[in-house]
């Protein structure tokens, strides 16, 4: 894998593409660069929006189908053939047609704005999520920190929605939600620290590359504490996206529908969109941190994909663009999304098979069990390499030490960060 092959961003690609037209039409370089910048921004945004909106459509169908099968029913069967593929689309059309109600007691400005706040927070997390090694909308050195920060903002929209509804059910739901999400953020961050500690980086791409090769290179198999940390993280992540058995904020048996009791139509549906896309976001973060990111995990296949990178360079007459890299990234994106979908399936499965906890049990689980467990796992993960180094004189059981690995893999930069010195907006 040569770094040079992967080193073209969409922006560069479009700059070259637009540049070709511009030369024939005699437009100066700066205008070309600006046009390319806006085109790149538009394409990035619409691709991410497609992923953000498309995955929930699939998950809502999956949720209904899995729930049906677990309860010995068929689930949706009519719309779009015998599997009910188009059920979610039909639901969506129905919801958009509904009247946009605002209750009389509600604070109408905040009532109207809070669904957007929750959705923007959930959507923003997709900006820093690398879909493949080299495909990321915003490549930030502190990507893991940024995504945790962005995912923690969703609670704000939910609290404001509950508070501004002017309904006691919504207020109770919002208060439970605030208490739950604020406390579950702590073990989530500590569990996410363990793979970050192993990698020694906050950059998702570096973390992804360090897990290449056979699947025992994945951080979940790095040491026994990281293995336990994955399950701890997944439990906490399920709670932080308020899925059953931790869905106290919208406990139907107690609170009607929790914080979104008063919402209907489109505003209600984008709360749903935010919830299902956050489910994918936390699952994709779990896949990136513990399950090898966009690596397949079988050395032969990953090797093959690595050879594919850089093949067909200069196709379409654009310098630095490679068809092989594009294909490898496409497969990588498929692998990551498949891993994320598998984890979302587990979340759905858990929802329909486990009973809901009481609110005091939820808080006890977090504060008395999950926080101490995650702190213990973190401490042990810190001590593990030291213990290994003092007993078997190696920082890892097998394979090369992480320190050597990181340097070797960082030497393959894939994505440039557009900066003032080299971006198109100069």
């Amino acid at each position: 894998m040569n770094g040079l092959f992967a080193a073209i961003t969409l922006q560069d690609f479009l700059t070259s593409l637009v540049g070709g037209f511009a030369r024939s039409m005699k437009i100066d370089t700066e205008t070309t660069a600006t046009i390319a910048f806006f085109l790149a921004a538009l394409i990035h945004a619409s691709l991410l929006l497609g992923l953000f909106a498309g995955l929930p459509v699939f998950y809502i169908w999956l949720e209904r189908k899995v729930a049906g099968r677990i309860q010995d029913r068929l689930g949706p069967t009519r719309v779009g053939g015998s599997f009910g593929w188009l059920q979610t689309i039909a639901d969506g059309i129905k919801l958009i047609q509904k009247e946009d109600l605002v209750p009389e007691d509600a604070d109408s400005l905040i009532f109207r704005m809070s669904p957007y706040l929750a959705t923007i927070a959930s959507f923003a997390a997709f900006m820093v999520l690398p879909i493949a090694d080299g495909w990321v909308a915003v490549s930030a050195e502190c990507g893991a920190f940024l995504i945790l920060a962005l995912m923690s903002l969703e609670v704000l929209g939910i609290i404001l929605a509950g508070y501004s509804s002017g309904s006691k059910w919504a207020l109770f739901g919002a208060m439970r939600e605030a208490a739950q999400m604020v406390s579950y953020e702590i073990p989530m961050a500590i569990c996410a620290l363990i793979p970050l500690l192993i990698a020694g980086s906050l950059n998702f791409q570096v973390i992804g590359r360090m897990q290449s090769g056979w699947f025992w290179n994945w951080f979940i198999f790095h040491d026994p504490f990281a293995f336990l940390a994955f399950f701890c993280y997944f439990t906490v992540a399920t709670a932080s996206v308020k899925r059953a058995p931790f869905d106290l904020a919208e406990a139907e048996s107690e609170l009607v529908a929790g914080f979104h009791t008063e919402y209907s139509g489109f505003r209600w549906s984008i709360f749903f969109l935010a919830e299902y896309s956050s489910m994918f976001a936390v699952s994709a973060v779990a896949a990136l941190l513990f399950l090898g990111g966009s690596n397949v995990g079988l050395f032969g296949i990953d090797e093959l994909l690595g050879h594919l990178r850089g093949a067909g360079t200069g196709a379409l007459g654009i310098e630095g663009f490679s068809v092989g890299t594009y294909l490898a990234n496409l497969i990588g994106a498929g692998v990551l999304i498949a891993k994320g979908c598998l984890l979302v399936f587990v979340q759905i499965w858990v929802r329909w098979t486990l009973p809901r906890l009481r609110i005091d049990q939820v808080m006890t689980t977090c504060l008395k069990y999950l926080v101490p467990i995650s702190c213990f796992l973190f401490l042990m993960a810190v001590l593990w390499p030291l213990v290994l180094a003092s007993t078997i004189r190696r920082p890892t059981f097998s394979g090369q030490p992480m320190g050597d690995k990181s340097v070797q893999h960082i030497a393959v930069p894939a994505v440039r960060v557009a900066s003032k010195s080299e971006g198109v907006a100069r």
């Binding site: 770094g3 704005m113 502190c142 920190f145 940024l146 903002l153 609670v155 609290i159 340097v407 900066s419």
Partner: protein
């Protein structure tokens, strides 16, 4: 050009949000406008390629402080929506303090001769960092900063891209390889921020313990029962 456009959008949102916080009387609406204002400040940090600072701003101010504020309002409110009414005396006092602060800031920014000041700065505020960081930059140099060969210029470019996590981390551990390398070891080892970092962490721990002590449910201990248990 796009940077400039985005700068104007976000700075208008920062100022507009801040004015709306002052102008509204409903506490929860204030919290909403505070989110707009603080979130736009974070966006300005991202525009300046200070990624870590922007993420910290989002996590601490938007995700932490405002949530606590709304939570506090929800728990303590007696009526459905809490209104804040300011008396004219308070308004005059507030306007005086605010106007004075604005005057001080505006005049001090306006009176500084920025051109001569920037001429006095070193030509390249270059920061060579730890050895592996330098290696990383050297590897990245093939692609990213083609043309500039000195490690100082590369690191400068990396700083401009917001890739400062490693330097920040080393600074908190008490190491400043950037300054040590830059001054060529003539002035001894530059101190990092280990002591302030530790002081802040101990301080936060004290605050946490104090808060949990204050918030603890005060149970009346029954003498007989406790004697029986003891």
């Amino acid at each position: 050009m796009t940077d400039e456009l985005l700068f104007w959008v976000f700075s208008i949102l920062v100022c507009g949000g801040a004015i709306a916080v002052v102008a509204t009387q409903n506490v929860v609406r204030m919290a909403f406008w505070l989110v707009v204002s603080l979130g736009s400040v974070a966006a300005l940090f991202f525009l300046l390629h200070a990624d870590f600072l922007g993420a910290a701003q989002l996590l601490i101010y938007v995700g932490g402080t405002v949530v606590l504020l709304v939570f506090g309002v929800m728990l303590t409110a007696s009526g459905p929506y809490v209104q804040i009414r300011t008396s004219p005396a308070e308004m005059i006092f507030g306007a005086t303090v605010g106007g004075g602060l604005f005057f001080v800031l505006f005049s001090s920014i306006g009176w500084v001769d920025w051109v001569s000041l920037s001429a006095r700065l070193p030509a390249t505020p270059a920061i060579p960092a730890a050895s592996d960081y330098a290696q990383e930059s050297r590897a990245g140099q093939q692609v990213t900063v083609a043309g500039s060969s000195s490690p100082a210029a590369e690191l400068d470019a990396q700083q401009q891209q917001g890739r400062t996590i490693r330097q920040l981390g080393l600074g908190f551990l008490g190491l400043r390889p950037d300054r040590n390398l830059k001054e060529g070891g003539t002035r001894g080892l530059a101190p990092g921020y280990l002591l302030p970092f530790e002081i802040i962490s101990i301080h936060l721990l004290v605050v946490l313990i104090g808060a949990s002590y204050l918030a603890r449910a005060k149970r009346r201990v029954d003498r007989n029962e406790s004697r029986g248990l003891g």
